[in-house]
Amino acid sequence: MRSTYLAALVIAGGLVSACASQPEPTPEPVDTAPATQPRPAPTPAPAPATGPTAGSRADFEAKAATRVFFGYDQYNLDEADRTALAAQAAWLKQYPNVRVQIEGNADERGTAEYNIALGARRAEAVQSYLQSQGIAASRMSTISYGKSRPINPGNNEAAWSQNRNAHTNIVGGASS
Protein backbone atom coordinates (compact mmCIF):
# COMPACT_ATOMS: atom_id res chain seq x y z
CA MET A 1 0.00 0.00 0.00
CA ARG A 2 2.63 2.42 1.08
CA SER A 3 5.15 1.56 -1.66
CA THR A 4 2.45 1.96 -4.32
CA TYR A 5 1.70 5.41 -3.01
CA LEU A 6 5.32 6.53 -3.03
CA ALA A 7 5.86 5.16 -6.54
CA ALA A 8 2.91 7.16 -7.82
CA LEU A 9 4.37 10.34 -6.43
CA VAL A 10 7.78 9.66 -7.93
CA ILE A 11 6.20 9.27 -11.35
CA ALA A 12 4.25 12.47 -10.91
CA GLY A 13 7.46 14.22 -9.91
CA GLY A 14 9.19 12.98 -13.05
CA LEU A 15 6.44 14.32 -15.28
CA VAL A 16 6.58 17.82 -13.89
CA SER A 17 10.32 18.10 -13.53
CA ALA A 18 10.69 20.25 -16.63
CA CYS A 19 8.53 23.02 -15.25
CA ALA A 20 10.12 25.34 -12.70
CA SER A 21 6.93 26.90 -11.44
CA GLN A 22 5.05 23.69 -10.82
CA PRO A 23 3.46 23.80 -7.35
CA GLU A 24 4.11 21.09 -4.86
CA PRO A 25 2.12 17.94 -5.55
CA THR A 26 -0.92 17.51 -3.35
CA PRO A 27 -0.82 14.15 -1.65
CA GLU A 28 -3.71 11.80 -2.19
CA PRO A 29 -6.27 11.80 0.60
CA VAL A 30 -5.44 8.87 2.81
CA ASP A 31 -7.09 6.83 5.50
CA THR A 32 -7.26 8.89 8.67
CA ALA A 33 -6.26 6.07 11.01
CA PRO A 34 -3.08 7.34 12.72
CA ALA A 35 0.04 5.16 12.90
CA THR A 36 -0.50 3.61 9.48
CA GLN A 37 -0.67 6.85 7.55
CA PRO A 38 1.67 7.22 4.64
CA ARG A 39 3.24 10.61 4.31
CA PRO A 40 3.96 12.63 1.22
CA ALA A 41 7.34 12.21 -0.38
CA PRO A 42 9.70 15.15 0.10
CA THR A 43 9.03 18.04 -2.22
CA PRO A 44 10.46 17.10 -5.62
CA ALA A 45 13.06 19.49 -6.88
CA PRO A 46 12.03 20.98 -10.20
CA ALA A 47 14.89 21.57 -12.61
CA PRO A 48 14.36 24.97 -14.22
CA ALA A 49 15.22 25.69 -17.84
CA THR A 50 17.50 28.55 -16.93
CA GLY A 51 19.44 27.77 -13.80
CA PRO A 52 19.37 29.97 -10.71
CA THR A 53 22.55 31.62 -9.46
CA ALA A 54 24.92 29.04 -8.04
CA GLY A 55 24.89 29.03 -4.24
CA SER A 56 21.64 30.97 -4.01
CA ARG A 57 18.49 30.06 -2.14
CA ALA A 58 16.81 29.30 -5.46
CA ASP A 59 19.73 27.03 -6.37
CA PHE A 60 19.34 25.15 -3.06
CA GLU A 61 15.63 24.76 -3.67
CA ALA A 62 16.33 23.53 -7.20
CA LYS A 63 18.90 20.97 -6.13
CA ALA A 64 17.26 19.59 -2.99
CA ALA A 65 13.83 19.06 -1.51
CA THR A 66 13.88 21.56 1.36
CA ARG A 67 10.96 20.05 3.23
CA VAL A 68 10.59 16.53 4.58
CA PHE A 69 7.30 15.15 5.89
CA PHE A 70 6.29 13.08 8.88
CA GLY A 71 3.53 10.71 9.96
CA TYR A 72 0.99 11.60 12.64
CA ASP A 73 2.81 12.23 15.93
CA GLN A 74 5.99 10.83 14.32
CA TYR A 75 9.44 12.31 13.97
CA ASN A 76 11.42 9.49 12.42
CA LEU A 77 12.97 9.87 8.97
CA ASP A 78 12.17 7.40 6.22
CA GLU A 79 14.16 6.50 3.14
CA ALA A 80 12.69 9.28 1.01
CA ASP A 81 13.48 11.84 3.73
CA ARG A 82 17.07 10.64 3.95
CA THR A 83 17.43 10.91 0.17
CA ALA A 84 16.18 14.49 0.32
CA LEU A 85 18.44 15.34 3.25
CA ALA A 86 21.44 13.78 1.49
CA ALA A 87 20.80 16.19 -1.38
CA GLN A 88 20.56 19.08 1.09
CA ALA A 89 23.83 17.99 2.70
CA ALA A 90 25.58 17.69 -0.66
CA TRP A 91 24.56 21.22 -1.57
CA LEU A 92 25.50 22.61 1.85
CA LYS A 93 28.94 21.02 1.54
CA GLN A 94 29.35 22.78 -1.77
CA TYR A 95 28.55 26.15 -0.17
CA PRO A 96 30.21 26.05 3.25
CA ASN A 97 29.33 29.63 4.17
CA VAL A 98 25.60 28.96 4.07
CA ARG A 99 23.81 28.74 7.42
CA VAL A 100 20.43 27.13 7.79
CA GLN A 101 17.65 27.01 10.32
CA ILE A 102 15.55 23.88 10.38
CA GLU A 103 11.93 24.68 11.12
CA GLY A 104 9.81 21.95 12.67
CA ASN A 105 6.07 22.04 12.03
CA ALA A 106 3.02 20.09 13.17
CA ASP A 107 -0.54 19.71 11.97
CA GLU A 108 -3.48 21.34 13.75
CA ARG A 109 -4.65 18.15 15.46
CA GLY A 110 -2.89 18.67 18.75
CA THR A 111 -2.54 21.38 21.35
CA ALA A 112 -0.23 24.30 20.57
CA GLU A 113 2.19 23.51 23.40
CA TYR A 114 2.54 19.80 22.70
CA ASN A 115 2.97 20.55 19.02
CA ILE A 116 5.89 22.87 19.73
CA ALA A 117 7.60 19.95 21.44
CA LEU A 118 6.72 17.67 18.53
CA GLY A 119 7.94 20.14 15.90
CA ALA A 120 11.19 20.50 17.83
CA ARG A 121 11.73 16.73 17.62
CA ARG A 122 11.22 16.86 13.86
CA ALA A 123 13.64 19.74 13.42
CA GLU A 124 16.18 17.93 15.58
CA ALA A 125 15.80 14.72 13.55
CA VAL A 126 16.71 16.66 10.41
CA GLN A 127 19.55 18.53 12.06
CA SER A 128 21.04 15.31 13.44
CA TYR A 129 20.85 13.66 10.07
CA LEU A 130 22.50 16.58 8.30
CA GLN A 131 25.19 16.54 10.97
CA SER A 132 25.74 12.83 10.35
CA GLN A 133 26.20 13.76 6.68
CA GLY A 134 29.07 16.05 7.61
CA ILE A 135 27.38 19.42 8.07
CA ALA A 136 28.81 21.26 11.08
CA ALA A 137 26.36 21.90 13.90
CA SER A 138 27.61 25.49 14.03
CA ARG A 139 26.03 26.11 10.61
CA MET A 140 22.63 24.92 11.77
CA SER A 141 19.98 25.92 14.27
CA THR A 142 16.45 24.68 14.87
CA ILE A 143 13.13 26.27 15.69
CA SER A 144 9.73 24.71 16.23
CA TYR A 145 6.65 26.55 15.07
CA GLY A 146 4.31 23.87 16.35
CA LYS A 147 0.99 24.16 14.55
CA SER A 148 1.27 27.91 13.99
CA ARG A 149 2.63 27.83 10.44
CA PRO A 150 0.68 25.46 8.20
CA ILE A 151 1.70 25.43 4.52
CA ASN A 152 -1.71 24.07 3.57
CA PRO A 153 -4.65 25.88 5.20
CA GLY A 154 -6.97 22.90 4.70
CA ASN A 155 -8.59 20.94 7.50
CA ASN A 156 -8.24 17.39 6.21
CA GLU A 157 -5.67 14.62 6.22
CA ALA A 158 -4.24 15.76 2.88
CA ALA A 159 -3.47 19.18 4.39
CA TRP A 160 -2.30 17.79 7.72
CA SER A 161 0.16 15.41 6.05
CA GLN A 162 1.76 18.42 4.35
CA ASN A 163 1.79 20.46 7.55
CA ARG A 164 3.74 17.79 9.47
CA ASN A 165 7.14 18.73 8.15
CA ALA A 166 10.60 20.08 8.76
CA HIS A 167 11.79 22.83 6.45
CA THR A 168 15.42 23.69 5.89
CA ASN A 169 15.56 27.47 5.59
CA ILE A 170 18.68 29.37 4.53
CA VAL A 171 19.40 32.14 7.02
CA GLY A 172 22.81 33.36 5.86
CA GLY A 173 25.76 32.97 3.54
CA ALA A 174 23.89 32.30 0.31
CA SER A 175 24.45 34.14 -2.98
CA SER A 176 21.74 36.61 -3.82
Partner: protein
Protein backbone atom coordinates in the same frame (compact mmCIF):
# COMPACT_ATOMS: atom_id res chain seq x y z
CA UNK B 1 -1.43 52.50 28.07
CA UNK B 2 -3.51 55.38 29.38
CA UNK B 3 -6.45 53.10 29.70
CA UNK B 4 -4.46 50.60 31.71
CA UNK B 5 -2.94 53.23 33.97
CA UNK B 6 -6.30 54.56 35.06
CA UNK B 7 -7.39 51.13 36.25
CA UNK B 8 -5.25 51.12 39.33
CA UNK B 9 -6.67 54.13 41.13
CA UNK B 10 -7.74 53.40 44.63
CA UNK B 11 -11.18 52.31 45.62
CA UNK B 12 -12.48 53.38 48.97
CA UNK B 13 -14.78 50.88 50.58
CA UNK B 14 -17.09 51.98 53.38
CA UNK B 15 -19.83 50.19 55.20
CA UNK B 16 -23.28 51.68 54.98
CA UNK B 17 -25.37 51.65 58.07
CA UNK B 18 -28.27 49.27 57.85
CA UNK B 19 -31.56 50.56 56.51
CA UNK B 20 -33.44 47.74 58.15
CA UNK B 21 -33.64 46.98 61.83
CA UNK B 22 -31.79 43.79 62.80
CA UNK B 23 -34.01 40.76 62.50
CA UNK B 24 -33.84 37.42 64.26
CA UNK B 25 -31.26 35.04 62.79
CA UNK B 26 -32.67 32.98 59.95
CA UNK B 27 -31.60 30.66 57.17
CA UNK B 28 -29.09 32.35 54.88
CA UNK B 29 -30.40 33.21 51.41
CA UNK B 30 -28.16 31.18 49.08
CA UNK B 31 -28.26 30.04 45.49
CA UNK B 32 -27.22 26.40 45.27
CA UNK B 33 -24.47 26.26 42.69
CA UNK B 34 -23.87 22.52 42.77
CA UNK B 35 -25.96 19.48 42.10
CA UNK B 36 -29.12 18.41 40.35
CA UNK B 37 -31.28 20.68 42.48
CA UNK B 38 -29.81 23.74 40.83
CA UNK B 39 -32.26 26.51 40.01
CA UNK B 40 -31.31 30.04 39.07
CA UNK B 41 -32.21 32.48 41.84
CA UNK B 42 -34.75 35.13 40.75
CA UNK B 43 -33.32 38.53 41.60
CA UNK B 44 -34.04 42.15 40.69
CA UNK B 45 -31.52 44.92 40.21
CA UNK B 46 -33.60 48.00 39.37
CA UNK B 47 -31.49 50.70 37.72
CA UNK B 48 -29.54 52.57 40.41
CA UNK B 49 -30.57 56.15 41.17
CA UNK B 50 -28.38 59.07 40.20
CA UNK B 51 -28.63 62.39 41.97
CA UNK B 52 -28.06 64.46 38.82
CA UNK B 53 -27.86 63.92 35.07
CA UNK B 54 -24.23 62.77 35.00
CA UNK B 55 -24.72 60.49 37.97
CA UNK B 56 -27.89 59.12 36.42
CA UNK B 57 -26.05 58.14 33.25
CA UNK B 58 -23.32 56.41 35.25
CA UNK B 59 -25.92 54.75 37.45
CA UNK B 60 -27.55 53.36 34.32
CA UNK B 61 -24.24 52.00 33.00
CA UNK B 62 -23.18 50.55 36.34
CA UNK B 63 -26.54 48.83 36.75
CA UNK B 64 -26.22 47.28 33.29
CA UNK B 65 -22.73 45.90 34.01
CA UNK B 66 -23.83 44.52 37.39
CA UNK B 67 -26.77 42.79 35.72
CA UNK B 68 -24.62 41.51 32.88
CA UNK B 69 -22.00 40.10 35.27
CA UNK B 70 -24.55 38.30 37.41
CA UNK B 71 -26.52 37.10 34.41
CA UNK B 72 -23.35 35.65 32.83
CA UNK B 73 -22.94 33.19 35.71
CA UNK B 74 -26.13 31.34 34.84
CA UNK B 75 -26.87 31.26 38.57
CA UNK B 76 -29.41 34.07 38.59
CA UNK B 77 -32.64 34.81 36.80
CA UNK B 78 -32.68 38.58 36.50
CA UNK B 79 -36.24 39.89 36.54
CA UNK B 80 -36.92 42.95 34.45
CA UNK B 81 -39.27 45.77 35.45
CA UNK B 82 -41.43 47.76 35.51
CA UNK B 83 -42.09 46.83 39.12
CA UNK B 84 -44.87 47.90 41.46
CA UNK B 85 -42.58 49.81 43.79
CA UNK B 86 -41.33 52.81 41.82
CA UNK B 87 -40.06 54.85 44.76
CA UNK B 88 -37.09 52.72 45.86
CA UNK B 89 -34.74 54.72 48.06
CA UNK B 90 -31.44 53.39 49.36
CA UNK B 91 -32.03 55.00 52.73
CA UNK B 92 -35.41 53.33 53.27
CA UNK B 93 -36.25 49.63 53.39
CA UNK B 94 -38.22 48.44 50.34
CA UNK B 95 -41.82 47.27 50.63
CA UNK B 96 -40.96 43.56 50.50
CA UNK B 97 -44.54 42.55 49.69
CA UNK B 98 -44.22 44.52 46.43
CA UNK B 99 -41.34 42.19 45.39
CA UNK B 100 -42.58 38.80 46.49
CA UNK B 101 -45.32 39.12 43.88
CA UNK B 102 -42.66 38.52 41.19
CA UNK B 103 -41.19 35.61 43.13
CA UNK B 104 -38.02 37.70 43.53
CA UNK B 105 -35.75 36.38 46.27
CA UNK B 106 -32.98 38.99 46.30
CA UNK B 107 -33.35 42.69 45.59
CA UNK B 108 -30.48 45.09 44.97
CA UNK B 109 -31.05 48.82 45.53
CA UNK B 110 -28.33 51.32 44.69
CA UNK B 111 -27.47 54.88 43.87
CA UNK B 112 -24.60 56.90 42.44
CA UNK B 113 -23.30 60.23 43.74
CA UNK B 114 -20.77 62.57 42.16
CA UNK B 115 -19.38 65.35 44.33
CA UNK B 116 -17.98 68.75 43.30
CA UNK B 117 -14.46 67.35 42.86
CA UNK B 118 -15.79 64.49 40.69
CA UNK B 119 -15.39 61.76 43.26
CA UNK B 120 -17.89 59.09 42.36
CA UNK B 121 -19.57 56.98 45.01
CA UNK B 122 -21.75 53.96 44.35
CA UNK B 123 -23.85 52.72 47.27
CA UNK B 124 -25.92 49.57 47.30
CA UNK B 125 -27.89 47.26 49.52
CA UNK B 126 -28.84 43.63 48.98
CA UNK B 127 -32.11 42.45 50.51
CA UNK B 128 -33.52 39.01 51.18
CA UNK B 129 -37.06 39.68 50.00
CA UNK B 130 -38.81 36.72 51.64
CA UNK B 131 -36.77 37.10 54.81
CA UNK B 132 -37.53 40.83 54.80
CA UNK B 133 -33.95 41.52 55.82
CA UNK B 134 -30.88 43.35 54.62
CA UNK B 135 -28.01 41.03 53.67
CA UNK B 136 -25.36 43.54 52.69
CA UNK B 137 -24.78 47.30 52.55
CA UNK B 138 -21.66 48.77 50.97
CA UNK B 139 -20.32 51.73 49.08
CA UNK B 140 -17.34 52.31 46.81
CA UNK B 141 -15.78 55.69 46.12
CA UNK B 142 -13.36 56.43 43.31
CA UNK B 143 -11.58 59.71 42.55
CA UNK B 144 -12.89 59.76 38.99
CA UNK B 145 -16.03 58.41 37.30
CA UNK B 146 -13.71 56.93 34.61
CA UNK B 147 -13.44 53.91 36.86
CA UNK B 148 -17.16 53.19 36.82
CA UNK B 149 -16.67 49.77 35.21
CA UNK B 150 -14.42 48.52 37.97
CA UNK B 151 -16.88 49.84 40.54
CA UNK B 152 -19.66 47.94 38.80
CA UNK B 153 -17.61 44.72 38.80
CA UNK B 154 -16.84 45.19 42.52
CA UNK B 155 -20.52 45.64 43.28
CA UNK B 156 -21.37 42.53 41.23
CA UNK B 157 -18.62 40.56 43.02
CA UNK B 158 -20.08 41.54 46.39
CA UNK B 159 -23.59 40.50 45.38
CA UNK B 160 -22.32 37.24 43.88
CA UNK B 161 -20.28 36.49 46.95
CA UNK B 162 -23.18 37.26 49.29
CA UNK B 163 -25.62 35.07 47.40
CA UNK B 164 -23.36 32.12 46.49
CA UNK B 165 -20.97 32.00 49.44
CA UNK B 166 -18.06 31.90 46.97
CA UNK B 167 -15.50 34.55 46.08
CA UNK B 168 -16.38 36.78 43.15
CA UNK B 169 -14.43 36.98 39.88
CA UNK B 170 -15.90 39.88 37.91
CA UNK B 171 -13.22 42.44 38.80
CA UNK B 172 -10.62 40.60 36.77
CA UNK B 173 -9.18 40.59 33.30
CA UNK B 174 -8.27 38.09 30.62
CA UNK B 175 -5.11 38.22 28.56
CA UNK B 176 -5.32 36.40 25.24
CA UNK B 177 -3.88 36.10 21.76
CA UNK B 178 -5.73 38.15 19.16
CA UNK B 179 -5.49 36.43 15.78
CA UNK B 180 -5.89 37.80 12.27
CA UNK B 181 -4.90 36.94 8.71
CA UNK B 182 -4.93 33.69 6.72
CA UNK B 183 -3.84 30.44 8.46
CA UNK B 184 -0.64 30.33 6.43
CA UNK B 185 0.36 33.85 7.51
CA UNK B 186 -1.36 34.35 10.83
CA UNK B 187 -0.77 37.39 13.06
CA UNK B 188 -0.94 36.66 16.79
CA UNK B 189 -0.92 39.70 19.04
CA UNK B 190 -1.00 39.96 22.80
CA UNK B 191 -4.29 41.49 23.95
CA UNK B 192 -6.12 42.09 27.19
CA UNK B 193 -9.69 42.81 28.16
CA UNK B 194 -12.00 42.81 31.15
CA UNK B 195 -13.39 39.37 31.95
CA UNK B 196 -16.70 40.37 30.33
CA UNK B 197 -15.00 41.29 27.03
CA UNK B 198 -15.09 45.06 27.58
CA UNK B 199 -12.13 47.40 27.09
CA UNK B 200 -10.15 45.09 24.82
CA UNK B 201 -6.77 46.51 23.84
CA UNK B 202 -3.49 45.30 22.36
CA UNK B 203 -0.35 45.07 24.43
CA UNK B 204 2.95 45.38 22.53
CA UNK B 205 1.15 45.53 19.16
CA UNK B 206 4.46 45.46 17.26
CA UNK B 207 4.97 41.80 18.17
CA UNK B 208 2.71 39.59 16.06
CA UNK B 209 4.00 36.11 16.92
CA UNK B 210 2.88 35.74 20.52
CA UNK B 211 1.86 32.56 22.28
CA UNK B 212 0.89 31.26 25.73
CA UNK B 213 0.46 34.49 27.74
CA UNK B 214 -0.15 33.89 31.47
CA UNK B 215 -0.89 36.25 34.35
CA UNK B 216 1.12 36.54 37.51
CA UNK B 217 -1.16 35.70 40.45
CA UNK B 218 0.44 38.46 42.54
CA UNK B 219 1.45 41.34 40.27
CA UNK B 220 0.51 43.09 37.05
CA UNK B 221 2.99 40.95 35.14
CA UNK B 222 2.38 38.68 32.19
CA UNK B 223 4.72 35.94 31.08
CA UNK B 224 4.48 35.09 27.40
CA UNK B 225 6.49 33.59 24.56
CA UNK B 226 7.09 34.95 21.07
CA UNK B 227 8.93 34.11 17.88
CA UNK B 228 11.44 36.90 17.32
CA UNK B 229 14.52 37.44 15.12
CA UNK B 230 17.60 35.87 16.71
CA UNK B 231 19.75 38.80 17.88
CA UNK B 232 22.85 36.82 16.88
CA UNK B 233 21.50 35.82 13.48
CA UNK B 234 18.65 38.11 12.41
CA UNK B 235 17.30 35.91 9.60
CA UNK B 236 16.95 33.05 12.03
CA UNK B 237 14.15 32.93 14.58
CA UNK B 238 14.18 32.33 18.31
CA UNK B 239 11.33 31.30 20.57
CA UNK B 240 11.80 33.44 23.65
CA UNK B 241 9.90 33.84 26.90
CA UNK B 242 9.36 37.32 28.32
CA UNK B 243 8.23 38.86 31.56
CA UNK B 244 6.11 41.88 30.74
CA UNK B 245 4.93 44.49 33.26
CA UNK B 246 1.54 45.78 32.12
CA UNK B 247 1.74 48.95 34.19
CA UNK B 248 5.20 50.14 33.13
CA UNK B 249 5.38 48.42 29.72
CA UNK B 250 8.84 47.14 30.62
CA UNK B 251 9.81 43.65 29.61
CA UNK B 252 12.77 41.33 29.79
CA UNK B 253 13.81 37.99 28.36
CA UNK B 254 13.68 35.18 30.90
CA UNK B 255 16.76 32.97 31.48
CA UNK B 256 17.88 32.29 27.95
CA UNK B 257 20.51 29.76 27.02
CA UNK B 258 22.12 29.11 23.63
CA UNK B 259 20.51 26.61 21.27
CA UNK B 260 17.45 26.17 23.48
CA UNK B 261 13.92 27.56 23.62
CA UNK B 262 11.89 28.41 26.73
CA UNK B 263 8.15 28.10 26.32
CA UNK B 264 4.83 27.19 27.98
CA UNK B 265 5.74 29.16 31.12
CA UNK B 266 3.50 29.83 34.12
CA UNK B 267 3.93 31.46 37.50
CA UNK B 268 3.75 29.72 40.86
CA UNK B 269 0.76 30.75 43.02
CA UNK B 270 2.97 33.02 45.16
CA UNK B 271 4.46 34.64 42.05
CA UNK B 272 8.02 33.86 43.15
CA UNK B 273 8.72 31.08 40.66
CA UNK B 274 8.16 30.33 37.01
CA UNK B 275 7.76 26.80 35.71
CA UNK B 276 8.30 26.22 32.00
CA UNK B 277 9.46 23.86 29.28
CA UNK B 278 12.89 24.22 27.79
CA UNK B 279 13.57 22.51 24.49
CA UNK B 280 17.14 21.59 23.75
CA UNK B 281 18.39 19.13 21.12
CA UNK B 282 14.78 18.37 20.29
CA UNK B 283 13.90 17.30 23.82
CA UNK B 284 11.54 19.31 26.02
CA UNK B 285 11.99 19.18 29.80
CA UNK B 286 10.52 21.08 32.73
CA UNK B 287 12.44 23.68 34.70
CA UNK B 288 11.59 26.02 37.53
CA UNK B 289 13.16 29.45 37.92
CA UNK B 290 13.23 31.38 41.17
CA UNK B 291 12.58 34.88 39.88
CA UNK B 292 14.46 36.85 42.55
CA UNK B 293 17.77 35.15 41.82
CA UNK B 294 17.02 33.57 38.45
CA UNK B 295 18.28 30.24 39.70
CA UNK B 296 17.08 27.23 37.74
CA UNK B 297 16.10 23.74 38.76
CA UNK B 298 15.61 21.04 36.15
CA UNK B 299 12.74 18.78 37.19
CA UNK B 300 12.51 16.24 34.36
CA UNK B 301 15.26 14.47 32.44
CA UNK B 302 13.39 11.89 30.38
CA UNK B 303 13.83 11.76 26.59
CA UNK B 304 10.05 12.15 26.26
CA UNK B 305 8.15 15.37 25.70
CA UNK B 306 7.56 17.05 29.08
CA UNK B 307 5.53 20.18 28.54
CA UNK B 308 2.72 22.48 29.79
CA UNK B 309 3.57 22.54 33.50
CA UNK B 310 1.17 24.15 36.00
CA UNK B 311 1.64 24.59 39.75
CA UNK B 312 -0.88 23.37 42.30
CA UNK B 313 -2.71 26.01 44.33
CA UNK B 314 -0.42 25.37 47.33
CA UNK B 315 2.70 25.52 45.15
CA UNK B 316 3.89 22.10 46.27
CA UNK B 317 3.06 20.08 43.15
CA UNK B 318 3.22 20.51 39.39
CA UNK B 319 0.94 18.88 36.83
CA UNK B 320 2.31 18.53 33.29
CA UNK B 321 1.92 16.71 29.98
CA UNK B 322 4.29 13.91 29.07
CA UNK B 323 4.38 11.27 26.36
CA UNK B 324 6.75 9.06 28.37
CA UNK B 325 4.03 6.40 28.35
CA UNK B 326 3.61 6.52 24.57
CA UNK B 327 0.88 9.13 24.19
CA UNK B 328 0.51 12.54 25.85
CA UNK B 329 -0.99 12.08 29.34
CA UNK B 330 -1.11 14.11 32.54
CA UNK B 331 1.41 13.55 35.32
CA UNK B 332 1.84 15.11 38.74
CA UNK B 333 5.23 15.64 40.38
CA UNK B 334 6.57 17.43 43.43
CA UNK B 335 7.72 20.99 42.78
CA UNK B 336 11.06 20.20 44.40
CA UNK B 337 11.60 17.13 42.21
CA UNK B 338 11.51 14.63 45.08
CA UNK B 339 9.79 11.27 44.84
CA UNK B 340 6.16 10.98 45.83
CA UNK B 341 3.57 8.34 46.59
CA UNK B 342 1.48 7.79 43.47
CA UNK B 343 -2.30 7.53 43.73
CA UNK B 344 -2.08 4.33 41.69
CA UNK B 345 0.50 2.88 44.08
CA UNK B 346 4.27 2.90 44.31
CA UNK B 347 6.67 5.81 44.54
CA UNK B 348 7.94 7.74 41.57
CA UNK B 349 9.35 11.10 40.57
CA UNK B 350 6.11 11.70 38.60
CA UNK B 351 2.74 9.97 38.81
CA UNK B 352 0.42 9.48 35.86
CA UNK B 353 -3.14 10.59 36.64
CA UNK B 354 -5.00 10.15 33.32
CA UNK B 355 -5.84 6.76 31.86
CA UNK B 356 -8.75 7.45 29.51
CA UNK B 357 -8.71 6.94 25.76
CA UNK B 358 -7.02 9.57 23.65
CA UNK B 359 -4.50 12.28 24.41
CA UNK B 360 -4.42 14.70 27.36
CA UNK B 361 -2.61 18.01 27.44
CA UNK B 362 -2.52 21.64 28.69
CA UNK B 363 -3.38 20.81 32.32
CA UNK B 364 -4.03 23.78 34.58
CA UNK B 365 -4.58 23.54 38.30
CA UNK B 366 -7.59 25.32 39.77
CA UNK B 367 -6.74 28.22 42.11
CA UNK B 368 -8.94 26.42 44.65
CA UNK B 369 -6.78 23.33 44.28
CA UNK B 370 -9.62 20.87 43.90
CA UNK B 371 -9.57 20.28 40.14
CA UNK B 372 -7.18 20.19 37.20
CA UNK B 373 -8.64 21.33 33.88
CA UNK B 374 -7.20 19.89 30.67
CA UNK B 375 -7.60 19.46 26.92
CA UNK B 376 -8.44 15.93 25.77
CA UNK B 377 -8.25 14.78 22.19
CA UNK B 378 -9.99 11.60 21.08
CA UNK B 379 -11.12 10.29 17.69
CA UNK B 380 -10.90 13.62 15.95
CA UNK B 381 -12.71 15.65 18.64
CA UNK B 382 -11.34 17.91 21.36
CA UNK B 383 -12.74 18.28 24.87
CA UNK B 384 -12.21 20.47 27.90
CA UNK B 385 -12.43 18.38 31.04
CA UNK B 386 -11.59 18.39 34.71
CA UNK B 387 -10.02 15.74 36.91
CA UNK B 388 -9.08 15.63 40.57
CA UNK B 389 -5.36 15.76 41.35
CA UNK B 390 -5.41 12.09 42.39
CA UNK B 391 -6.81 11.09 38.99
CA UNK B 392 -10.38 10.55 40.24
CA UNK B 393 -13.62 12.11 39.09
CA UNK B 394 -12.76 12.95 35.47
CA UNK B 395 -15.58 14.85 33.74
CA UNK B 396 -15.65 16.25 30.20
CA UNK B 397 -17.36 19.64 30.08
CA UNK B 398 -17.18 20.62 26.39
CA UNK B 399 -16.66 19.09 22.97
CA UNK B 400 -16.00 20.47 19.48
CA UNK B 401 -13.73 20.28 16.45
CA UNK B 402 -11.06 22.02 18.54
CA UNK B 403 -11.46 22.99 22.21
CA UNK B 404 -8.15 23.87 23.80
CA UNK B 405 -6.29 25.75 26.50
CA UNK B 406 -8.45 26.02 29.64
CA UNK B 407 -7.87 28.76 32.23
CA UNK B 408 -9.63 29.22 35.59
CA UNK B 409 -11.51 32.21 36.90
CA UNK B 410 -9.83 33.49 40.09
CA UNK B 411 -12.43 31.72 42.24
CA UNK B 412 -12.00 28.35 40.50
CA UNK B 413 -15.63 28.31 39.39
CA UNK B 414 -15.52 29.12 35.66
CA UNK B 415 -13.23 27.88 32.89
CA UNK B 416 -12.40 29.96 29.82
CA UNK B 417 -10.92 28.23 26.77
CA UNK B 418 -10.72 28.66 23.01
CA UNK B 419 -12.78 26.84 20.44
CA UNK B 420 -12.64 26.37 16.70
CA UNK B 421 -16.24 25.23 16.35
CA UNK B 422 -15.82 23.88 12.80
CA UNK B 423 -12.84 23.26 10.53
CA UNK B 424 -11.41 26.60 9.44
CA UNK B 425 -13.89 28.61 11.54
CA UNK B 426 -11.13 30.42 13.41
CA UNK B 427 -10.69 30.34 17.18
CA UNK B 428 -13.01 32.17 19.60
CA UNK B 429 -13.10 32.41 23.38
CA UNK B 430 -15.75 30.62 25.43
CA UNK B 431 -16.51 30.04 29.08
CA UNK B 432 -18.18 27.20 30.92
CA UNK B 433 -19.10 26.63 34.54
CA UNK B 434 -17.25 23.91 36.42
CA UNK B 435 -20.60 22.10 36.64
CA UNK B 436 -20.66 21.79 32.83
CA UNK B 437 -23.55 24.27 32.61
CA UNK B 438 -23.67 27.72 31.08
CA UNK B 439 -21.49 27.47 27.97
CA UNK B 440 -21.09 31.04 26.71
CA UNK B 441 -19.20 32.83 23.95
CA UNK B 442 -16.92 35.61 25.17
CA UNK B 443 -16.97 38.49 22.74
CA UNK B 444 -13.62 39.54 21.29
CA UNK B 445 -12.94 42.01 18.48
CA UNK B 446 -11.77 39.19 16.16
CA UNK B 447 -10.41 35.66 16.36
CA UNK B 448 -8.88 34.91 19.73
CA UNK B 449 -7.03 32.04 21.37
CA UNK B 450 -5.08 31.07 24.46
CA UNK B 451 -6.94 33.00 27.19
CA UNK B 452 -5.43 33.39 30.66
CA UNK B 453 -7.46 34.77 33.52
CA UNK B 454 -5.93 37.33 35.89
CA UNK B 455 -6.28 37.15 39.64
CA UNK B 456 -8.85 39.52 41.16
CA UNK B 457 -7.60 43.07 40.67
CA UNK B 458 -6.27 44.85 43.75
Amino acid sequence: MKNTATRFLSLVLLALTSAVAALPAQAQLRVTVEGVNFEPMPIAIPTFDGENAQAEELAQRISEVVMSDLSSTGLFEIKEGPFVQQDLDISIAPRFADWTIYNIQALVVGNVLIDSSFNMTAQFRVYDVYGASELLAKQYSVPTPDNWRRVAHKVADDIYSQLTGEDGYFDSRIVFVSESGPPTDRKRRLAIMDQDGAEAEFLIPSVSTVLTPRFSPTSQTIIYSAYVPDPADPLATRLRTYLYDIETGRQEVLNEVARASNYAARFSPDGRYVVMSRERNGNSDIYTIELARRTETRLTTSPSVDVSPSYSADGRNIVFTSDRGGTPQLYVMRADGSEMNCPTGGRDSACRITFGDGRYSTPVWSPRGDWIAFTRQHQGRFYIGVIQPDGQGERLLTESYLDEGPTWSPNGRVIAFFREAAPGAGPKLWTIDLSGRNLRALRTPGDASDPAWSPLLQ
